[in-house]
Symmetry: none
């Protein structure tokens, strides 16, 4: 949601431009401030930002994104498994990337994944691979076996027109080299399997981009997180359409609630999500709701879409605070990071944060925005501060000292 | 002093409700902000909060409360001693606590303490005990001997109606077990000694609660603090009515000034304290003054008493800033933590902080409160930040780097 003022929109941010009566209502009666997801100027990935929001210091707990994605995709991981985020992509005969999302392939991805899942890597005895497609062109790869390491570089060059990279041991270790060898063989084999696949021959015939290779990135192992319950004395659940957030929630021991229509995309069912929050609040005392849409609009550089998604999130906030009595319960609202439409990528800006509920000092602000939040009554906090503050308001904080 | 807005007092806090012309004067011309004693949302005990205020990071220096209390009670401790805070309490034959303050016993506590001090524990050879009463039902116990540990749990259940607890080694160590055994025997022996004591027989006859047991809690060893002088280049003294604060000051190498009438209670002699500050400022360049009263009113949940004690503190502030020329000297004012009357316990809220003196930017606020402080010119700092800021203003900070 957070953004920067735009010269071609009267120096307003999308949040300032949007009509957000419900967020404004929450902000007026609550604590409002700025929050650095990690620290001032630190540009966070969604993984570390959401770990921090849930109270887990990434400096202590972050072990790579891949395993969080794999957990979120419903795979079971052992502590020694190394997992990767993957894209189905289109490469030419020179292994130059024509489209790192293979035309955002939708149909047939799971069939292609089945073929890829049958690959057996031979260069590294004892290593087994599991491959599963998730949303559109996205998938996860898990390497299982002895002496593997998450210290391997990405195969995905993360830019169209570049050649794919050879995975390497980023720490020079034997385990890293062994893992890199397995990944490189897997990528080569994925090309062999996919380019012959009938589904791709059909796509080619229809003038569609072929999904003729798998590009892994973001090697990771499962983080050892103390349970959310043990940290904050709260029984929690998580509602999200994205595998990463589900994976973080799973690693933290939150119950992942699957909501039909929660897509993790631009179009998601806000009403279904709001209902799930209200329903979840009945048998849990903490519900973590994540909406991906404004981030996508930011990545797309689409001001209008960002304003629209913010207004849709506002309607969701309205549904929640109308049903959840904030004279008795607490509702906190924050971006996990800024994705300014003028940049199309995450930036290190602080984000607005609001905490509403009983006995919370009222900011008396009339409108929630990046600018008003910078003058709010909460001051400037860090992502990892949010859960301790909430825990203290709900009366479940432990005394430090005596 | 710090609190939360109260619904039955026009959403005002006691500080907002109180008439505080002197604090307001200090605030208007000084730096004003919010201070997290430890960190946002962290609920501090008085021990860690005051260590932090004096510039000692509790994460680095805190070794339990008991030894600080014992130091404050005037006992000399060696680094291997383990000390406990204790209450005289009333238990029934089942060791269920009827009153963990033995009717807030005043008279005769030192006589009872003398009898308890003569106890010799036999289960743990080589361990000697020292016992001393302090204020009302409060006392300290010191175990001296080899192979003792502060990792032992509390005997005091901290709630009336509960059975007393058996002390245990919280880390499972041999030293912990040995210490726990000594504590448990001491508690048992204290019951034997006290229930037969003539003073208790008198109390029973008079219908008063008998002080028939001693309940230790908060095991601690003396922290190894670098001297306050070495940290901030300031020669300091401390004025306080409470053993804990005196103990922290002693451990930091501050001179403890005993002020007749400084009780550490709701009624304390504010004028005597103010005079001691002014007197102390003559041959020292730092005076730490602690007032306990607003905290007690907060624990009692007594809004009126809290407003009154804040107004009394305000008059003290007036006496100090009228005498200490703040065109030449610095006066800082802060709560060590919040004790909201609606909660009756410490919370993790940030507290208002003010720094007045030469060349300090003026906040121009008209009234000191939690809300105005949240928009003050100091921003949001941590407890351990206060001494470095003061040290820098007085021109005694060391250059970092070169």
């Amino acid at each position: 949601m957070a953004d920067r003022p735009l010269i071609d929109h009267d120096y307003k941010t999308p949040l300032e431009y949007a009509n957000t009566p419900n967020m404004d209502r929450l902000a007026k009666g609550g604590l409002v401030g700025l929050m650095d997801p990690i620290g001032p100027g630190i540009r966070p990935g969604s993984d570390v930002a959401n770990l921090a929001l849930l109270g887990y210091d990434p400096a202590k707990y972050y072990t790579g994104r891949g395993a969080l994605e794999a957990l979120g995709a419903g795979l079971k991981l052992s502590p020694t498994d190394v997992a990767f985020r993957c894209n189905f992509a289109t490469v030419n005969d020179d292994f130059r990337v024509e489209d790192r999302r293979a035309g955002r392939i939708r149909k047939g991805a799971s069939k292609l994944a089945k073929a890829v899942d049958e690959i057996k890597v031979e260069s590294t005895p004892g290593v087994k691979t599991t491959f599963k497609s998730t949303v559109e062109h996205r998938a996860v790869l898990v390497l299982r076996g002895e002496k593997l390491s998450r210290n391997v570089s990405d195969v995905d060059p993360k830019e169209d027109g570049m050649k794919i990279r050879i995975a390497r041991a980023s720490d020079g270790s034997e385990e890293g080299k062994r893992t890199a060898a397995a990944v490189n063989e897997f990528v080569k084999r994925s090309h062999e399997v996919l380019r012959e696949h009938p589904l791709n021959q059909e796509r080619a015939k229809d003038g569609e981009k072929v999904a003729n290779i798998v590009l892994p990135r973001g090697a990771g192992t499962v983080p050892t997180l103390p349970s959310f319950k043990s940290m904050f004395d709260l029984q929690g659940s998580c509602i999200s359409g994205t595998a990463l957030i589900k994976g973080i929630a799973t690693a933290a021991g939150l119950e992942v609630i699957d909501v039909r229509g929660a897509t993790g995309g631009l179009k998601t069912d806000y009403e279904a999500k709001a209902k799930a929050v209200i329903e979840g609040a009945k048998d849990k005392n903490f519900v973590f709701l994540h909406v991906k849409a404004p981030d996508i609009a930011g990545h797309d550089g689409d001001f209008k879409a960002k304003v629209r998604t913010i207004e849709e999130v506002d309607s969701l906030v309205g549904m929640v605070i109308d049903e959840v009595d904030i004279g008795l319960n607490y509702v906190a609202l924050a971006s996990d990071h800024a994705t300014p439409v003028g940049y199309g990528t995450h930036t290190g800006d602080p984000v607005p944060v609001v905490i509403g509920g009983p006995d919370v000092p009222a900011s008396r602000l009339l409108k929630l925005s990046e600018a008003t939040a910078s003058r709010g009554n909460l001051g400037r906090i860090k992502g990892t501060d949010l859960m301790p503050i909430i825990t203290d308001f709900v009366g479940r904080s432990r005394l430090y000292g005596s």
